[in-house]
């Protein structure tokens, strides 16, 4: 199983690639929000509608983005990762 074409190794690399990409997006979104609060209050204070500033909308969006990212990951893992893992397990046993 030492070659680079080990299917489990390929699958593991795919999982880490997706996990790290999604983590990077989460970090960028959250610290982007914090950086805006810290460095550009005027922008966040822009009124989008009666009672709604851009800051409030973006804050709520941070939470929505967190949900979306977890949804994307779970969907991918349930559909692809688990299936291929199950195939590898049965191959290993057979």
């Amino acid at each position: 199983m030492a070659d680079a074409h080990d299917p489990l190794r390929v699958l593991a690399a795919a999982r880490w690639r997706i996990a790290l990409t999604l983590t990077a997006v989460m970090i960028a979104v959250y610290f982007g929000f914090i950086a805006l609060i810290a460095y550009d209050r005027e922008l966040l204070s822009v009124r989008l509608a009666q009672g709604l500033t851009l800051g409030i909308v973006l804050g709520a969006l941070v939470i929505v983005v967190s949900w979306l990212l977890t949804y994307i990951y779970v969907r991918w893992a349930n559909a692809h990762y688990d299936e291929q893992l199950a195939a590898l397990k049965s191959e290993g046993e057979g």
């Binding site: 999604l22 983590t23 509608a49 009672g51 500033t53 990951y73």
Partner: protein, 523 residues
């Protein structure tokens, strides 16, 4: 940061602080139900696998609620609602900060942890390394996190109960201590899990009902609520305010919250209660949904309290603003609803301290006693006995510390606990999962540095030097050291490992990596 510990005055014409029959009734019902659960769980708790991991029988949905229950503390419920009610927008910084760690837990930690470990996160770090030093270092990180978190919760509980039920501080602490020890001692993880589930359902239900009652006054439109707040208290309440006066402070606190979640021992321990890695994954997905929803609700509650109760009335009852949500409940639903929310807040604290105590007991018994003192040779009966002794010891410590810190400002201890989890526990855990060249010395130095540096820098920070000791300046500029300590813990773990010039690993996947994905057969 967010807190429960400020003093009350008796000026407001509220029923808060007077014995409240409805609150008492709800609370007695909660205690009765949870002790019933404990009795049922006790009959099933016969082995360490049951005691620490509920026999790995918890479903993803149940664990999602239990994770949310472990995480949504009274500090975040009362504290964020209070902060929003008195400062407006700035509270949102916390609402988002408390959630964004969860996707990170899902992507990087939950599944490998479930496949590689047994009861504690130290199982994973120690897997390929020398047991004794790694277990000792991670137990230090775990206990530091757990004890600081416990102090904050206990002191908050004492103050809260005094404020809401009129009981004495000490009586309140002892009630919390006794109930919490009973859950954990007799019912182990199974009882603790169900206490979290009941509490999470009550807290979410209570917050949701309260938010609906608020929004009903504003045509079910949050924007109309915010507009009313801005008409009444000025447009500034919808803009970023003075909470973030130093950008680096905001980023540092954000890092502690984001990565601390992935290093909280009582949260990590929950992933062992489900049957497999897929269930661990699904449970974080549910938890993220529930917790995000909860923090959106607290934002609405905060603005509701600002408009309907008013910041002055809120600060009149408690300077820290912590009574915003209970006062809002009283305004909307009278004494019965106040009683219900008060009982929910109490139940919340009780559940969180139970989870913390169990994870601390696991570090003492599973990591220190069984793995280090007895070198893995303890019998099953001895392991369970030691786990129970450790539970009582930690429970008593929690009560004693709760009483010792009476009247102290311990609000900073929650963010300190997150900073230690983020700097002491998280880097070593992540490296042990990801990086095959991590050595024993690397892991141990990363964990010890993270924990000790965080403690020392907090002591030297404005949080202690200026806010508590009343000095005019502090040696270290940041209120929370995570910005510095998290990267340094990684650098130290990696550098020390590389200096030992470990033999390059063989090509291909190690047994460790295979197990991380496939799980262990028969586990």
């Amino acid at each position: 940061m967010i807190i429960l510990a400020s003093q009350a005055s008796t000026l407001a014409p509220s029923r808060i602080g007077q014995p409240n029959a409805v609150a008492m009734a709800f609370f007695v019902v909660f205690i009765a139900i949870t002790l019933g659960i404990t009795y049922w769980a006790a009959r099933k708790t016969r082995t360490t696998e049951h005691f620490y991991a509920a026999g790995r029988t918890i479903s993803p949905g149940q664990n999602g609620f239990a994770l949310a229950g472990d995480y949504m503390s009274a500090a975040s419920f009362l504290g964020i609602a209070g902060l929003v009610s008195t400062t407006g927008f700035d509270g949102l910084i916390y609402s988002t900060g408390w959630l964004v760690g969860w996707p990170v837990v899902l992507f990087l930690i939950a599944e490998p942890l479930r496949n590689l470990g047994k009861y504690t996160f130290a199982d994973v770090v120690a897997l390929r390394l020398r047991q004794a030093p790694v277990r000792v270092a991670s137990a230090i990180g775990t206990l530091a996190t757990v004890i600081l978190y416990l102090i904050a919760q206990m002191v908050g509980a004492g103050g809260l109960i005094k404020l809401m039920f009129g009981l004495s501080y000490e009586t309140a602490i002892v009630i919390v201590g006794v109930a919490m020890i009973a859950y954990v001692l007799f019912g182990g993880m199974l009882a603790t899990t169900w206490v979290q589930i009941v509490k999470a359902a009550l807290l979410l239900g209570g917050a949701f009902l309260l938010a609906v009652l608020v929004l009903a006054r504003f045509g079910m439109n949050p924007a109309a609520l915010f507009a009313a707040a801005s008409t009444k208290y000025g447009a500034a309440v919808l803009n970023p305010g003075k909470l973030v006066s130093n950008p680096l402070d905001a980023i540092s606190l954000g890092m502690a919250l984001m990565f601390g979640t992935a290093g909280l021992p009582h949260i990590l321990m929950r992933f062992y209660t489900v049957p497999d890695a897929k269930a661990a994954r699904t449970s974080v997905f549910y938890a993220t949904g529930l917790i995000g929803f909860f923090y959106l609700l607290t934002f609405v509650l905060g603005f509701g309290a600002m408009v309907l109760v008013g910041p002055d009335a809120i600060k009149g009852v408690d300077k820290g603003g912590n009574m915003a949500a209970p006062l809002l409940a009283e305004h909307l639903g009278g004494t019965p609803f106040l009683g219900f929310i008060a009982a929910v807040a109490f139940a919340t604290i009780l559940a969180v301290v139970a989870g913390l105590t169990l994870s601390g007991a696991a570090a003492l018994s599973h990591d220190l006693w069984v793995s280090v003192v007895r070198k893995g040779m303890a019998s099953a009966g001895e392991q369970l006995r030691v786990a129970r002794i450790a539970t009582v010891v930690l429970g008593v410590i929690a009560v004693v510390l709760g009483i010792t810190f009476k009247g102290q400002n311990v609000a900073f201890m929650v963010s300190l606990a997150f900073a230690i989890a983020a700097s002491g526990n998280f880097p070593a855990l992540l490296l042990s999962i990801f990086w095959r060249r991590l050595t024993t010395a690397g892991a141990v130095s990363s964990m010890l540095f993270g924990t000790i540096a965080t403690l020392v820098l907090i002591y030297l920070s404005p949080t202690i030097q200026v806010d508590i000791l009343k000095h005019t300046t502090a040696w270290f500029p940041l209120k929370n050291p995570a910005l510095l300590t998290i990267p340094l813990s990684f650098v130290i773990g990696i550098t020390v490992s590389l200096l030992q010039s470990a033999a390059p690993q063989e090509e291909g996947m190690s047994a460790h990596d295979r197990r991380m994905h496939l799980g262990e057969v028969g586990d």
